[in-house]
Symmetry: C2
Subunit: 256 residues, 2 copies
């Protein structure tokens, strides 16, 4: 119960949102009660799940500043066991308004404390930076999932990310563990993908997950229909790989 | 003389760094004296140009906090008319240290004022956020180039980015213009790319550049050799498209 997985990497465009949405949907398909929390002011996870931001009264920002409870924000989706807390551009305001406040790193943890026990899994999608919002997500999490795009620049930031995890673990959240590093947009046809996989294996052997997410155009088409890939192209390689990922994480996290 | 182009988009992984490096190299190949400024703490433009960060005494951070001049930081490259100011992780410190300082948005503008006249073009690579560093780059620039990945999520943030440009133009830099929106990773075979192009054309018609950058694996391989694509695979579609982009921008910016 109550596994909170933070999905983070400060490198942009590596597949954080795509992983957050599709892992959440796959866990729900495995009948795990799942909550997806969009913690990125871009609000891509919100849109990708088909939520129209202009119709919302409130979003995660309002819970972060104490003007709403998490429960009020929860929205249902097309999957029985999947619910979402949406985000909008105003979330950027939290970083500015709380920058000098004591306890600013634990606001999200406190927001989620009231509802997380109602779920088997809570997934948090992060922005492409190691800013206050990402630190909040790491402080609220029980484990960290790191999407790693199978490209050259993606490896460069990994050392810094692991450094930040150590600092969060020491000062804010001693129980934070790394659930794993997930290779995304893996293209078997290019030697670059294989090189990145080999490199990641060399430096971060114990963390590399078995599941690899292939580059699959269905994954980038699904959000334009506001659906996770399971509800858009269930038999595609993209959909299958995220179901496989969900099974692997359940195995790792539930049998420990 | 002294065209300063800021390359920005808060959406991650859309091709900012790839555009900064390869547009800079293409302008240099057209015999324009060009300076590439890495303004992202990830330092991908620095690594992509083959600079070993561990050998540097100083980086852009030191000029931003007044411990070095821009001139001291300039490094030569494999192209006669291309020089680079590198960045490293410590650049993140600037955002924290200057967050309350008056004039914090114009620090980069002042750093570059001393050297920009020595170049025909100065290109600034930005991080995936609308934070103080990106605002500094916009305040220092004469024009803004917006890479737009040919994917669904990429369109979502464009409105907010244009909003930020308006605010910067009004409060910090009245001469800032939008040089254009550049479609990147365009894949002719997918309907998604064509849909994004059509959508961008509908909402931002006047800004869309004629040049489109195709998805081309050579572009993602080149940085692992520390070279712009012109020095790695000059006859590839990726290299050709950036030379075409350089010509289009010279035409637009120099004949006004
Ligand atoms: N395996 C995949 N195959 C094909 N396209 C993918 C795949 N994973 C993600 N994409 C596409 O690549 C782009 C980047 O992915 P995504 O937005 O999920 O990354 P991100 O890390 O969340 O980005 P940001 O740093 O901006 O938050 C999106 O357009 C997405 O649809
Ligand atoms: N036209 C292209 N064809 C193929 N790959 C590309 C192309 N443009 C960029 N890439 C690759 O896509 C990835 C993202 O590009 P890049 O790092 O330049 O984006 P960015 O916007 O600078 O990312 P960030 O938001 O992290 O700064 C990189 O691995 C890059 O090599
Ligand atoms: Mg995202
Ligand atoms: Mg970049």
């Amino acid at each position: 119960m109550g596994h909170v997985i933070c999905i983070a990497n400060q490198k942009g465009g590596v597949g954080k949102t795509t992983t957050a949405i599709n892992l959440a949907a796959s866990l729900a398909a495995l009948k795990k009660k799942t909550l997806l929390v969009d913690c990125d002011a871009q609000g891509n996870a919100t849109t990708g799940m088909g939520i129209d931001k202009s119709t919302l009264d409130k979003s995660l920002y309002h819970a972060m500043i104490g003007q709403a409870t998490a429960q009020e924000l929860v929205r249902r989706t097309g999957l029985k066991h999947l619910q979402v807390i949406p985000a909008r551009t105003e979330l950027i305001g939290f970083e500015v308004e709380f920058m000098d406040r004591p306890g600013r790193e634990k606001v999200l943890k406190n927001v989620l404390a009231a509802i997380k026990e109602a779920y088997d899994y809570v997934l948090i999608d992060c922005p492409p930076s190691l800013s206050l919002l990402t630190v909040n997500a790491m402080a609220a999490a029980t484990s960290l999932l790191i999407p790693l795009q199978s490209e050259f620049y993606a490896l460069e930031g990994l050392g810094q990310l692991m450094q930040t995890v150590k600092i969060v673990k020491k000062n804010l959240n001693p129980r934070l563990t790394v659930a794993g590093i997930l290779l995304t947009m893996f293209d078997k046809r290019t030697s670059l993908s294989h090189q990145v996989a080999a490199n990641a294996g060399k430096h971060f052997q114990n963390f590399l997950l078995e599941t690899q997410i292939p580059r699959n155009v269905r994954l980038s088409e699904a959000p334009s229909f506001g659906k996770p890939i399971l509800l858009y192209a269930a038999s595609s390689p993209g959909a299958q790989s995220y179901v496989e990922l969900a099974r692997e994480l359940v195995r790792r996290l539930e049998t420990g």
